[in-house]
């Protein structure tokens, strides 16, 4: 079976529109491709699309109510919402340091969720938090 897909290349600002034909799990042809880097991108995007995930987790006793986090590497696209669900059910106690691992092996991908921000303990800040 041949499947056709239209992909916008995001490697450079030109944004080439590429028509790819997929046959037996392989790219059999590409139309509109202009460079090697773009070719690599399109192959990955068609066969195994991945995305960096950035979101936040709830913090207890923090000067901020939220801690921003990211995936340690790009996550397979179809696992994004499973990972988000797990992250949503997580709460972390302040203090937290940037780079700290918050979840190991999120959604059984082998990928970690790590803090991208440091959040101080509010009880050591006279109970002061940052408000809207």
């Amino acid at each position: 079976m041949i499947v056709e897909k239209r992909i916008t290349c995001i490697i450079c600002p030109i944004g080439c529109e590429i028509l790819v034909k997929i046959e037996d799990g392989k790219c059999s042809s590409m139309e509109g491709i202009k460079c090697k880097k773009g070719e690599e991108y399109v192959i990955n995007e068609v066969l195994n699309p991945k995305r960096m995930l950035t979101t936040s987790v709830l913090v207890e006793n923090g000067i901020w109510p939220l801690l921003s986090v990211k995936s340690s590497e790009p996550i397979p696209k179809e696992k994004l919402f499973d990972a988000l669900k797990e992250i949503k059910n997580t709460t972390i106690k302040a203090p937290v340091n940037s780079g700290q691992i918050i979840i190991k092996n999120v959604a059984e991908t082998g990928i970690c969720i790590i803090a991208t921000k440091s959040v101080k303990d509010s009880t050591k800040n006279n109970g002061k938090t940052i408000l809207v």
Partner: protein
């Protein structure tokens, strides 16, 4: 009144303020203070939790909060003072600053000032959207702060006006937090944000993009209930009969940013009506001697990397100014330097710097008016070309950068920058 003298006062503690302060300190300035209204440093960065920061500048892929922490650490390490929760009330051409915080009113005499006040989002009233005035209408950046800093979801059924990068990134962010995104509406025939964001923020989640459309009516008592969008013609005027009614409780506006220069104007700094930022020379010095400008109050940058790199140059220039100023009295009689004006022409919306006061290598940053394929960038004087470069592709969403060299023999008063089709 608390009186103080400093080498360099930096107004604004976002990425531009931090980068310029670090660079000023590295260039030998002794006391460098960064003033900011917020209780934190880093400006907008802590709420920009997505990644993509720092690639061009450092080769590392960072999120906004990571990028901010890196700069805050560097600033502290090198001895830059960060004075938060402090509001600048005014400054003047003698470089006297009035500031206010919980301790009282400060009168600060600075040897040089760096402006890094950033920009503000345009609101509904800047783009004149008619209709009711219900709650549920936010600028995209405010919604971003609510979600990413304060754990508040601004709404459930959301329409976004404007396809700039902030608007696109908010579409994805709200989607990930469980909101229903009804679409992104863009008045132009092409998206204003980067192709990368169109793909990863809209296409990934099948969020519709309505090009050549705009919001023409808002309905709601108390909370927003319904928004009307209409198609526009080539002159961007809504076409009657094309109205579509969209039920929603939230409208986000991502309709552009305006450099923040109320303080600059009061001090008498000349503003470029194309950028809405100060007119500067090749050293980022404004029309007032010893006052420099960088970051989004100078021009609205599309990424932090170039912003920081330019801000470092502004900080270095400020430090240099202090040292040359010590000897200035002796050389005051030296005749005034020739000033060369740079004028944007065909296809160029603006160029920074707007003027040049010395010869040598000069970096020009500029934006094009509309997306183009292959074209030639041409810098000329009296129809004589002094620099030419082929641009493969240009987009108003990206700032372009070129380095040109102005030789001593050039006897010119004005440089024109234009695009020629190929």
């Amino acid at each position: 009144m608390i009186e103080k003298t400093v080498d360099i006062a930096v107004i604004g503690g976002g990425p531009a303020g931090l980068a310029s302060a670090i660079s000023a300190k590295e260039s030998g300035a002794k006391e460098v203070i960064v003033f900011d209204r917020n209780s934190w440093s880093g400006g907008i960065l802590p709420q920009c939790i997505h990644d993509g920061f720092g690639v061009e500048e450092t080769g590392l892929l960072m999120t906004g909060p990571e990028y901010a922490e890196k700069y805050i650490k560097m600033a502290k390490k090198i001895g830059v003072k960060l004075l938060n929760e402090t509001l600048i009330i005014s400054f003047n051409k003698k470089r006297e600053i009035k500031a206010l915080n919980k301790k009282g009113i400060y009168k600060i005499k600075a040897k040089a000032i760096v402006l890094a006040m950033g920009c503000r989002e345009k609101t509904r009233w800047n783009v004149m959207i008619p209709g009711d005035r219900p709650s549920g209408i936010y600028t995209a950046g405010v919604a971003q702060a609510l979600i990413n800093l304060y754990n508040i979801l601004p709404g459930r059924n959301v329409l976004i006006l404007g396809s700039g990068d902030v608007g696109l990134i908010m579409a994805r962010r709200l989607k990930l937090e469980g909101a229903n995104i009804l679409g992104v509406v863009e008045i132009l025939p092409y998206p204003s944000g980067l192709p990368r964001n169109v793909v990863q923020c809209l296409d990934d989640y099948e969020i519709p993009l309505f090009l050549k459309h705009t919001v023409t009516s808002i309905v709601g008592k108390g909370r927003l209930k319904q928004v009307t969008i209409s198609q526009v013609n080539d002159n961007l005027v809504p076409i009657s009969g094309t109205e579509k009614k969209i039920e929603c409780d939230t409208l986000l506006l991502s309709v552009g940013l305006n450099p923040e220069n109320e303080l600059s104007k009061v001090a008498g700094i000349k503003i470029d009506n194309r950028t809405n930022g100060p007119i500067v020379n090749q050293d980022f010095e404004t029309t007032i001697s010893g006052i420099f400008a960088c970051g989004n109050c100078l021009q609205v940058y599309d990424n932090v990397d170039l912003l920081s790199m330019d801000a470092k140059k502004a900080g270095k220039s400020a430090a240099k100014f202090i040292f040359s100023h010590k000897n200035r009295k002796k050389i005051q009689l030296k005749k005034k330097q020739t000033i060369l004006h740079i004028i944007p022409r065909n296809g160029i919306s603006y160029v920074i710097p707007q003027r040049i006061s010395k010869f040598g290598d000069i970096q020009l940053t500029f934006r094009v008016k509309k997306p183009r394929g292959l074209s030639n960038l041409c810098v000329s004087s009296n129809d004589k070309t002094i620099f030419e470069k082929e641009l493969l592709c240009s987009n108003p969403a990206n700032i372009n950068k070129v380095n040109i060299s102005i030789s001593k023999v050039t006897s010119i008063k004005q440089l024109e920058v234009k695009l020629n089709d190929r």
